[in-house]
Amino acid sequence: MATPRIDVSIEHRGEPATATKRHPNTCPGCGSHYRDDELEGSLGVCPQCGHHFPLRARARIAHLADAGSFVEEAADVRSDDPLGFFDLRPYAERLAEAELSTGLGEAVVIGQASLDGHPCELAVMDFAFMGGSMGSAVGEKFCRACESAVEREVPLISVTASGGARMQEGILSLMQLPKTVCAVEDLHDAGIPMFTVMAHPTTAGVLASFASLGDVTVAEPGALIAFTGPRVVQQTTREKLPEDFGLAESNLRFGHVDAILPRSELRPFLARLLRLFGRNGA
């Protein structure tokens, strides 16, 4: 009997039930289909309806950082398997598969960069690596990004895309919440600005820790930003969910984010923030 593939990531919120069968390059908004190079050319935004496809960490960094400026840090930090966790498959096997399929060592990539000439630190999450879930390695890398920003006195830009804490690390994954919160508090104390870009989805443990603590927080259109996702809310409370439940647009209306920016406007917006927060506005 073939082992069924387990999706530990997250529910696919607000997407049609046929989502699992859809090709990743088919737009869930309007059904248009694109070649890889077409999507790459449009930053993963559907030219027909403006739907934002998930953007991989490397592509995001290539878009945000000035050409050739990115220097990766802590690339050698990987997940361990402290609990010897085994559900239907061993955690170690899931990790190996994620590494192979994404070409990444973990669900976050951090490093030094410049954006429009302004030096900064980047911490960019990748949902393709086990649903962007935060275990010990992700927590550690995020903290190192904070420390690197403090050390070099440059702002930190974090891009989040995560289903939450990584269950396979049990309580240690929960401890990444207070751990990253402490790192952000040190950053605040050092007077270093932090800007957060919430991509789809930013949920649970990541939303309930560092992602919510930036000085300025912007979201991508249509991103799910919720502590508890719609499926769990529905199942637990049997409440009727509003159509825009947990979406970036709803979060803007309720005052949880500063702006919603289409991907094409993100880089100039961040450049403006870097100028405003720079020493003497330089």
Binding site: S136, M167, M175, C182, A208, A226
Partner: protein
């Protein structure tokens, strides 16, 4: 296997005793206590024992925060409301005297009968509950009162309105408020330490767990539903992610285990409260020797070091 685990636990306790927090006049007593703890838990909890902890942690007669307040504090004054929108009954907060000092106490509160359970949302707080907690943390910081947090929640309330009012941000900011405090802080899990809703009140200098409490990233039912795709596999899930006190101590997530009367806290609430009080007072006595700035620095260092990862050569 068991021997290897015991070795790891001993190593962990060895590390604990060398923590700067534990140095000083009280260190010998502290080591004795740790040794007693080691003796009690060196028999590794079996899967059945882990599940028994889950059941005891949720026992309907288990003492809740306000039950302990009666035994722990004199001159208790409960403070209500977040000064913005509501008073969330799933979190109680207030001031009282503990062993001769004024302390602020914040805890999740479950209901005893059907009506109270609904009123207190089964101990699942809305953002308003965390806002109230932050308000009382700030009072503690302003006036130099030590903070005691009692953690007992299945998790933060998973509802539409809770999301609209910013559940994730409230939990993040509650932790941040604790990370900023320059007063001694002690948290103890007294029942269910469920996920973000629990850790919102647990970024403390000393984090303790009662012997039969649980502390976990997700409920056994939730974990089973997602990873096993079958909520009925909850016992298997609990055995896999090990939410019991002995394992949390071994992983360095908590600083100590508070013993309970034989059979669990509900069999003798007065004795359970006495043991809890002893642990909290001991911790506060230790912590009060440190300056506020030092407390904050060490607190952040402690959490900064949490987690287990590999470094690829």
């Amino acid at each position: 296997m068991a021997r290897e685990d015991e070795h790891r636990l001993r190593e962990r306790l060895g590390k604990l005793t060398s923590l700067p927090l534990l140095r000083g006049a009280r260190v010998s007593g502290e080591i004795k206590r740790l040794q007693r703890q080691l003796e009690r838990i060196e028999a590794r909890p079996s899967d059945e024992k882990i599940w028994r902890s889950v059941e005891l942690a949720r026992h309907q007669d288990r003492p809740y925060t306000l039950d302990y307040v009666q035994f722990l504090l004199e001159d208790w004054v409960e403070l209500h409301g977040d000064r913005g929108r509501a008073d969330d009954a799933a979190i109680v907060a207030g001031l009282g005297r503990l062993d001769g000092r004024t302390v602020a106490l914040i805890g999740h509160q479950k209901g005893r009968d059907a009506r109270e359970r609904v009123q207190r949302q089964f101990g699942m707080a809305y953002p308003e509950g965390y806002h109230k907690a932050i308000r009382v943390m700030e009072i503690a910081g302003r006036h130099g009162f030590p903070l005691v947090c009692l953690v007992d929640t299945p998790g933060a309330y998973p509802g539409v309105v809770a999301e609209q009012h910013g559940q994730g941000g409230a939990i993040a900011r509650s932790q941040a408020a604790m990370a900023r405090l320059e007063v001694p802080t002690v948290a103890c899990v007294i029942g269910e330490g469920g996920s973000g809703g629990a850790v919102a009140l647990a970024l403390a200098d000393r984090v303790l767990m009662q012997e039969h409490s649980i502390y976990s990233v997700i409920s056994p039912e939730g974990c089973a539903a997602i990873l096993w795709r079958d909520g009925a596999e909850k016992q298997k899930a609990a055995a896999a992610f090990k939410p019991d006190a002995a394992h949390c101590l071994e992983l360095g997530v908590v600083d100590g285990v508070v013993p309970e009367p034989p059979g669990g806290a509900h069999t003798d609430p007065g004795e359970a409260a006495r043991l809890l009080r002893e642990a909290v007072v001991d911790s506060l006595d230790d912590l009060e020797a440190l300056s506020g700035e030092e407390l904050r620095r060490r607190r952040r260092e402690k959490f900064r070091a949490m987690g287990v990862y590999a470094v690829n050569a």
